[in-house]
Amino acid sequence: MHINYWQELTHHREGQIGLVLLGILAGIALLAPILAPWDPLYERDMAFLAPSLRHLLGTNDVGQDIFSRLLYGARSSLCLAVLAGAGATALSLLIGGTAGLIGGLYDRVVLRCIDALLCIPMLLVLILVAGYLTPSFFSLVLILTCLMWPGGARVVRAETLSLRSELHITAARSFGARWPYLLRRHILPDLAPILLANFVAVARRAVFMEAGLAFLGIGDPMVVSWGMMIRQALRFTYLDAWVWWLLPPGLALACTVAAFAYLGNILTGVLHPRHEGGHTHA
């Protein structure tokens, strides 16, 4: 089975939408300082201004430019998504991969730990931890990473286990290949699509999770985020301001999650063709 993943992504409507959305978001995040007309933390203008050419989406209760905050929000959301995704996937690979390769007692212990961690309600832990620690942006990344690796580790372990007995790896072993070679040339390349899918899934959940936490008031107040914006806007729903204050970050959040979800869907479909059906294998 030889699959061109890029082709799979670009040949499906969902994949195209996901890629375009993610591309736009990434562009915004990267170019936020250029695109944003105001400093997102700048507070000296009038509060509750309606949208105008000066403030495209008006200003909030402390006189910050909402449009600028929206652009900078993409930054923190994507940053968090990428960091948490990469961190959790790396941890999944390390723990799941070694469990699959080493096996034995280590594997059993790891597997029980994963099961235990998966049983813990994540949101509860997050609220408790974040509540006590009043987290910064990076400690939030760390907490999300630590909470989201077990699911991926489980998948990576199972895949490694089946890869280990694959004939092409046995063949390489028969030529005298050692683990570093097998990892580099056989196991990691074969795990790559699974890691990618895992990364996308974790990223999606991280964005969602951060928004949820910010909404509950847990988060770094100095970091501009969509979740925080929604939380602030909610207190003023009796004003007309919610139209340009509450809706835009909500939509942006929805777009981001949708983009990740679309990509994840395609990747999962390619990895497990029977679940989705209809994917063409080049």
Binding site: M1, H2, E166, L167, H168, T170, A171, A172, R173, S174, F175, G176, A177, Y181, R185, H186, P189, D190
Partner: protein, 598 residues
């Protein structure tokens, strides 16, 4: 009767015979075999004192050394005490004299008979060689080749010599005449020593002993059954493999390289198990077990020796106490139905699975990477991320052989008859056909130049014509590189064409093992018999089904529920593997008969 000691013959500066030591007893037929130019005829002529050249050593005949004799004394011996039938039957007879006249001349030559007795002797000789009396008046051109050979034999026997040297007596006659001549030779052998010079191994098979010559030296001397069924010198094995006959079942294979004389062991340029030593030191003829061998390596080397090898999965023995030896350059088939433990055995040989008991001993001459494997499913055994070139190059990459790795891989790909253009080399497995992929996998296994190839069902995924091509390729490579092949297959018809020896596996044990022809044409174990019956036939006749179902035996011989001949004891005791000559069989029926006969 005849003893040749350290005989050396030089003609000019060329050494024709080197250090020949040979004994022929009275009443014994000794066959002298070898390719043309090995020095067989020169040896015969030297013994007859007819070879011009510098001779050293001794030819002791009837207690005295003949070499110092004057020509006059030689002449008295020749035709009377010793006689030789020369190779070319057409030239040896005088075309203008009748057969009777020529025979009479031979009888009278030594003055042992008066004329009347001589005529009677001629009649006697004609009867002895099975010619009717009236042929006496025939001229040579009126006789058939077989009849002329008989006349020559009669001439040689004229004075009842004690030593008879026959040089290719059966060359160029049909098989029926050949058989008659050979039985005639056997009939005249009592009381005299017969040296039968021949390249025809079927003719040599009637002799009591066989001496194999190569490049003017003796390389193997032993009793005929031993030499023909279990050749120990690589050259003897090569001769047997190239000799078409109705006994062996393997396809014909030649001997790589060209014959000739070389410093050191004369055979070393063509030998696939040569050492550096073989190139400059001449091996001495030494007694090893049941025969004399001239080989620095002590004959064909056992490369892999499995001793009591076993592997259990979840308490079930997948392989249970296998003893098996793979010799240098031979093909050994391990046949058996699915689940008989063949693949587990292969993986233990490859060190891919640690055995639970016993071990696989590798010959010390085997370097790292000298044992390689072709896996059962070519498509699964390559990574779909590798291009054709990368697939073949992988073992080199792993071993860190980076210099010229692309050239080595390309040469190997060419050797398995695949294209080596850039377009092909860049293809990925899904762009290759099953046959191409199988060749590629074969090239990958051979790129490190192994001495042993373990092939697990190498062709089971291919159609018959592709399979045939791959197997011919493997056999050609075996001839060229001296590759020992362990072929794991369930296909007896295929194993029969490719293998020298076969081992039949049943539920992790070997139940029959021996030369391929015995196992496949005269199977002893009922399981082997059943497999042979069920092997592909073109007759359309289906064999009768076996009585029971597989895997239902809870004790005793694992085959008894399906065995049409099972005894009560078969349900109780699993029979041990018992050696019987070249064969090993694990069956109560066979060992029971053996004990009755014994």
């Amino acid at each position: 009767m005849l003893e040749i000691k350290s005989l050396t013959l030089d003609i000019g500066s060329e050494r024709i015979l080197r250090d020949i030591n040979l004994k022929v007893a009275a009443g014994e037929v000794l066959a002298l075999c070898g390719e043309s130019g090995a020095g067989k005829t020169s040896l015969g002529l030297t013994v007859m004192g007819l070879m011009a050249g510098q001779v050293q050593g001794e030819v002791i005949f009837q207690g005295r050394n003949l070499l110092p004799l004057a020509e006059e004394e030689w002449r008295r011996l020749r035709g009377r005490e010793m006689a030789m039938v020369l190779q070319n039957t057409d030239d040896a007879l005088n075309p203008v004299l009748s057969v009777g006249a020529q025979l009479l001349e031979a009888v009278l030559a030594h003055g042992l008979f008066d004329r009347a007795a001589a005529v009677l002797r001629v009649e006697e000789l004609l009867a002895q060689v099975g010619l009717p009396e009236h042929k006496c008046n025939s001229y040579p051109h009126q006789l058939s080749g077989g009849e002329r050979a008989r006349v020559l034999l009669a001439m040689a026997l004229a004075n009842d010599p004690a030593l008879l040297i026959l040089d290719e007596p059966t060359a160029a006659v049909d098989t029926i005449t050949k058989a008659e001549l050979l039985s005639l030779i056997k009939a005249i052998s009592p009381g005299r020593a017969v040296l039968l010079i021949t390249h025809d191994l079927a003719a040599a098979a009637v002799a009591a002993r066989i001496a194999v010559m190569y490049g003017g030296t003796l390389v193997e001397v032993g009793t005929t059954p031993a030499v023909l069924s279990d050749p120990r010198h690589p050259y003897t094995r090569g001769l047997l493999r190239s000799f078409p006959n109705m006994t062996t079942v393997k396809d014909l294979q030649g001997i790589g390289g060209e014959g000739g004389r070389a410093p050191g062991c004369p055979f070393h340029p063509r030998c696939t198990q040569r050492l550096a030593l073989c190139g400059h030191k001449i091996p001495a003829l030494q007694l090893r077990e049941d025969r004399w061998l001239a080989c620095h390596r002590g004959g064909i080397v056992p490369l892999l020796q499995m001793r009591n090898l076993g592997k259990a999965f979840d308490g079930q023995w997948a392989v249970a106490g296998v003893d098996l030896t793979l010799q240098e350059g031979e093909s050994l088939a391990v046949v058996g139905e699915t689940g008989s433990g063949k693949t587990t055995l292969a993986r233990m040989i490859m060190n891919l699975l640690p055995p639970d008991c016993g071990q696989v001993e590798r010959d010390a001459s085997l370097a790292d990477g000298a044992v390689q494997m072709v896996f059962q499913h070519p498509r699964a055994s390559v990574s779909h991320r590798f291009s054709a070139l990368e697939i073949v190059r992988e073992p080199l990459d792993i071993k860190g052989i980076l210099a010229d790795r692309d050239e080595i891989a390309r040469a190997m790909i060419a050797e398995v008859h695949l294209p080596v253009d850039a377009a092909f080399l860049a293809r990925y497995p899904h762009q290759l056909s099953g046959g191409e992929l199988q060749r590629l996998v074969l090239a990958r296994a051979l790129v490190l130049e192994p001495k042993v190839l373990v092939a697990d069902e190498p062709t089971s995924a291919l159609d018959a014509s592709t399979q045939a091509k791959i197997l011919r390729l493997i056999m050609a490579l075996q001839e060229k590189r001296g590759l020992a092949l362990l072929l794991i297959t369930h296909d007896l018809a295929l194993a029969r064409k490719v293998c020298d020896r076969a081992a039949v596996m049943l539920q992790g044990r070997i139940v029959e093992e021996g030369p391929a022809q015995s196992v496949f044409t005269q199977p002893s174990h009922p399981y082997t018999k059943a497999m042979v019956q069920h092997a592909p036939q073109l007759t359309g006749v289906l064999p009768s089904p076996l009585p029971g179902a597989a895997g239902t035996a809870s004790g005793g011989c694992p085959f008894w529920p399906r065995c049409p001949e099972s005894l009560v004891v078969c349900r109780e005791v699993n029979p041990p593997l018992v050696a019987d000559g070249q064969l090993r069989i694990a069956c109560h029926l066979v060992s029971g008969q053996g004990s009755l006969a014994g």
